[in-house]
């Protein structure tokens, strides 16, 4: 199966591990990814917070390129997914708005193709059975909690996947297929603070501390996520959080594709496990996974 691929700005820099391992996982599952040429930033949360038309125009410019190729779009970043999926949904049902946006971008976009999260796209493209069969090294010993974040499961007015917005299960299923022990916990979809990472880091610290404490309470030895912003927000400031809240946090935070790549036989070096603020190698070493 072939998907258009929209990496987004974060995967170019702070989440490059996600980009590399997502592509590797797709290759292993024989899913072809066609990167949308000359894609532009989706606008994240900022576009819709400042203008009514901008988020749609930015999304349309990206989506129509995939539409021309007749491809649905696989989107690793949760915020990009939210923007692209919400825009596409709205433009499909609102002809007047679509006309306005087409006038702004000077093209003809029909809102025919669909964006999916990368997670959804591999389940659609390969299926859980194939995802499981590709495992070369089961991730035994890892006690995972899956952190979905708030963006991918809470689209309004209509959710575009069948996930329960308070208790989604797709990532859990995939990580279980990797041979890890996946634990239930309370913060699956609690917000990490998202775009406030620069202007209001105290929010990130408070929310991150809450989330990590819940992961610890569930007896997890690592958190797995599918969003670059969540991953950075949870991981980077653990030292600061520990100081402020007088606790000792040292919780590894992986991208789910990093662990999939590991289970599929890629080396620690290739995956880039060194590029973590909270070192992940002691845990992986202890469980004899690297």
């Amino acid at each position: 199966m072939k998907f258009a691929y929209f990496p987004g700005c974060a995967l170019q820099s702070s989440a490059k591990n996600y980009d590399y391992t997502a592509r590797a996982v797709a290759r292993r599952l024989e899913i072809e990814l066609w990167e949308i040429p000359d894609w532009n930033c989706c606008g994240a949360l900022t576009a819709q917070q400042n203008d009514y038309l901008l988020p749609f125009a930015l999304a349309a410019r990206n989506l129509l390129k995939a539409e021309k190729e007749g491809l649905d779009v696989a989107v690793p970043c949760s915020i990009c997914y939210k923007q692209l999926a919400a825009a596409r949904f709205r433009l499909a049902e609102d002809e007047t708005l679509r006309g306005k946006i087409n006038e702004i971008i000077g093209r003809n976009y029909n809102a025919a193709n669909k964006p999916y999260t990368f997670l959804e796209s591999i389940i659609k493209g390969a299926g859980i059975k194939a995802i499981k069969n590709a495992v070369a090294k089961p991730l035994t010993g890892l006690k995972i909690v899956c952190y979905y974040g708030c963006s991918t499961v809470r689209l309004y007015p209509q959710s575009l996947n069948n996930e329960n917005p308070e208790n989604p299960m797709m990532m859990d299923q995939v990580m279980e297929a990797m041979g890890a022990e996946v634990l239930p916990w309370a913060a699956k979809t609690e917000c990490c603070g998202a775009g406030h990472y620069m202007a209001k880091p105290e929010i990130i610290n408070k929310l991150g501390n809450d989330i990590i404490s819940l992961a610890e309470a569930a007896n997890a030895n690592c958190i797995v996520t599918g969003c670059p912003l969540c991953q950075n927000n949870l991981e980077m400031r653990q030292g600061e959080m520990s100081k402020i809240y007088n606790v000792k946090h040292s919780m590894p935070v992986f991208f789910f594709t990093e662990l999939m790549a590991l289970a599929y036989g890629l080396s620690a070096k290739e995956i880039g496990f060194k590029n973590h603020f909270v070192s992940v190698l002691p845990l992986l070493d202890e469980k004899r996974l690297v």
């Binding site: 700005c9 820099s13 000359d38 532009n40 900022t46 576009a47 125009a57 702004i104 809470r154 775009g195």
Partner: protein, 193 residues
């Protein structure tokens, strides 16, 4: 404590409220103040008003108070409130509308940093088509006069290869510029959504 004549406030705010409803597509009259939104809101702890109070204030016609509030800027858009609301009110969508209206009316926001961040972000998209955290951080630190903010993280980020110092530029910057220009034109002509 300031006294407010609620019947006068309600009547005076009718037009504004109609506009807010039209633009946000949220009918605030559906809210019966159960407070579930406030209980789940991740930023209510650091805000002046919680979502329930914002809606109540709008119901009472206190539009300007809402447009000057911190809450509308703090909203992350996580939609926990909408998920749990028994009337399925899309509060983040309401907050987006209130933010835009507040900015249009020129109300100075106490959350200047959030605004600075937002403006920088959009500026980078307009000029380059993509956003690099490095450029964003640099601009933000300078504009908020905090040159050393988070500086301790940058060396590690750099050595991990997570900090792109040279910004990437989209080839179709003219197309991006066109988007922003056309939208400005639309606004200047008094275009209504």
């Amino acid at each position: 404590m300031e006294q407010v004549e609620l019947n006068i406030a309600c009547r005076a705010a009718e037009d504004d409220l109609r506009e807010i409803q039209r633009l946000s597509e949220v009918d605030i009259n559906k809210c019966y103040q159960c407070g579930t939104c406030a209980a789940g809101c991740p930023v209510a702890f650091t805000s002046d008003y919680n979502p329930r109070q914002i809606i109540r204030m709008l119901q009472l016609g206190l539009v300007e108070d809402v447009l000057r509030s911190k809450m509308i800027w703090m909203c992350i858009g996580c939609n926990i409130c909408t998920t749990r609301c028994p009337r399925k009110l899309n509060i983040p969508r309401l907050n987006d509308t209130l933010r835009i209206m507040s900015k249009d009316k020129g109300f100075l926001t106490s959350e200047k940093e959030i605004n600075i961040f937002g403006d920088l972000f959009l500026d980078l998209i307009e000029k380059k088509g993509r956003v690099t955290k490095a450029r964003l951080a640099l601009g933000f630190n300078l504009k908020t006069h905090q040159p050393f903010k988070d500086l301790n993280y940058y060396p590690k980020l750099f050595f991990m290869g997570k900090l792109k110092l040279l910004p990437t530029k989209v080839k179709g910057t003219a197309e991006i510029k066109r988007i922003f220009t056309k939208i400005r034109e639309f606004k200047n002509k008094g275009g209504k959504h």
